[in-house]
Amino acid sequence: MMDEQRVLKIIVAGEGGQGVQSIGELLAEAAFQAGKQALYIPNFGVEQRGGVSVAYVQIAEEAIGAPKFLYADLLAVLSKRAAERTKGYIKPGTIYLYEESALAAPVIDDQAVGIQGYETVAPEGFAKMVGAAAAPASSPPVDPSIRPVGIRAAQTAKAELTPRVFNIIVLGAITKLIKVLPPAGVKEAIAKKFGAKFRENPELEALNYQALAKGLTMIETEGQQ
């Protein structure tokens, strides 16, 4: 899934407080641990307080260039506003991981442009905007190789674990989809980042690892689209 630069490009976008930047940090940390190059940069615009939060992560075998990039190989979207903000990063082949409670399951139709089914009724212009990012409006319909993958991380976290580990479920799903990081390494990264918190609250440690496991198993990487 890497392009000619041999760099895997990941964007995680959601609301401030959803744990988006932790996902970015943990992916970068797990990549370092796996002996890879990694570069993570948070968005830090005026919106950093209580707005959309975006994490940009690159993973590669060799030195990484610019910290930002034009298109994502995997775009993980956790809120409606985040979907809007990051639509320009979609290209043919992008894996579009989304939280189903935030975005209703998209309907893929060869005749349609881009991803549809935004909530129950697609907001005006949304499909066109998403499509326009991948191809000019006048071009033929967007490459259907954009792979939408919906997960119910919020519901799973709330019903089975604790809402606090929502982002770790997403991290598990990303780990599964990108295939380049060993799950054990991601677990180690979690242990390293939250070590102090876990010592205070061992129950939280178990919940995090369960969340990671849920994320890793809740989606099928084969047979999608």
Binding site: F32, L39, F44, A63, P67, F69, L70
Partner: protein, 358 residues
Amino acid sequence: MTGNEVVAWAALVAGADFMYGYPITPQNEIMHYWARLAPHFGRGFLQTEDEMAAGFAMLGGALVGKKTFCATAGPGNILMQEPIAMAEMMRIPGVWVIQQRGGPSTATVIYSQQELRLTTAGGNGEGLRIVYSTAFHQELFEYTIKAFNRAWEYRFPTFVLGDGYQAKMREAVTLFRPEARGWTLTPAEPLVRRPGIPALDRDPVHLRNTFNIEEELYDRLMAQLAAYDRLTPEVVEWEVEVGPETEVLLVAHGIVARAAKQACAMLNRQGYKVGYFRPITVRPFPGAALREAVAANPNLRLLVVESAYGQLLALVKAELYGFTNAIDTLLKPGVGITAEEIMAAVTARTPKEVRPGG
């Protein structure tokens, strides 16, 4: 770790004694990390009322023999030019870390390379400064240490020119104690308050920056310019990849040089003949090295790439006076530049008939 954290650690191992700072994004975490580390290592921190106070307080600390530094950006860098001018005039050492943000004015807190001119040539003088433009966290660490050494060795204001991306992004870095690598730390000498009682044991030290007649100033400045010329070959640094086959020479500094280097490698894989030149010291500028690189091939074209609208370009043009090579540009003020964009700029300008495989 983030670039801001890297800078704080580098200042610590470089022997910095005191940081004077004022909040401005995107450098705040340098102050945060330093303020947290400093008390555990017997170092000091003071948050001042503005950047001018921070800069002048640095000079006070350096005068009494302490290694002082500060970090700032954008409008803070503008205010900082006043104390920097005094440092330049009076040869008071200091290290400034600049994490460039978008400009002019408040603009963005995110990123740019628009403070190149201000950092290299700001102030009402001749811009006698040493400015390192870093690209990787490892460099941020090592050049921050080097900046402290250079500042106290040559007593010219010394800068680490970073940017908002470097400040905030996380990538791997190896921290080390400079002594462990055989690097010697330049000691800080007091300029005032040396041992002894003035008028009894020694003459008092009276440091002056106001001159009554033009010639008095001229003599002082010419001596300083001569000192600066002497240090230039000792401090100038650059990175170059060029050969007689090179058709396009990418010129970029700082974080944009990462994208340029990557674009260079990818284009060469595709069969294009692309070289790469990166000044690491943007002041003094590695002019002789650039001229040598350009002379590799009389038909070589340059592509100057920067997140500013011609600030690096102006330095390049000044150094290439008399050369007839074409200079193309990819100028995106205040915006990051990717390898793909640089590749597109190169391939678009390469005539179809000479494109590899085309």
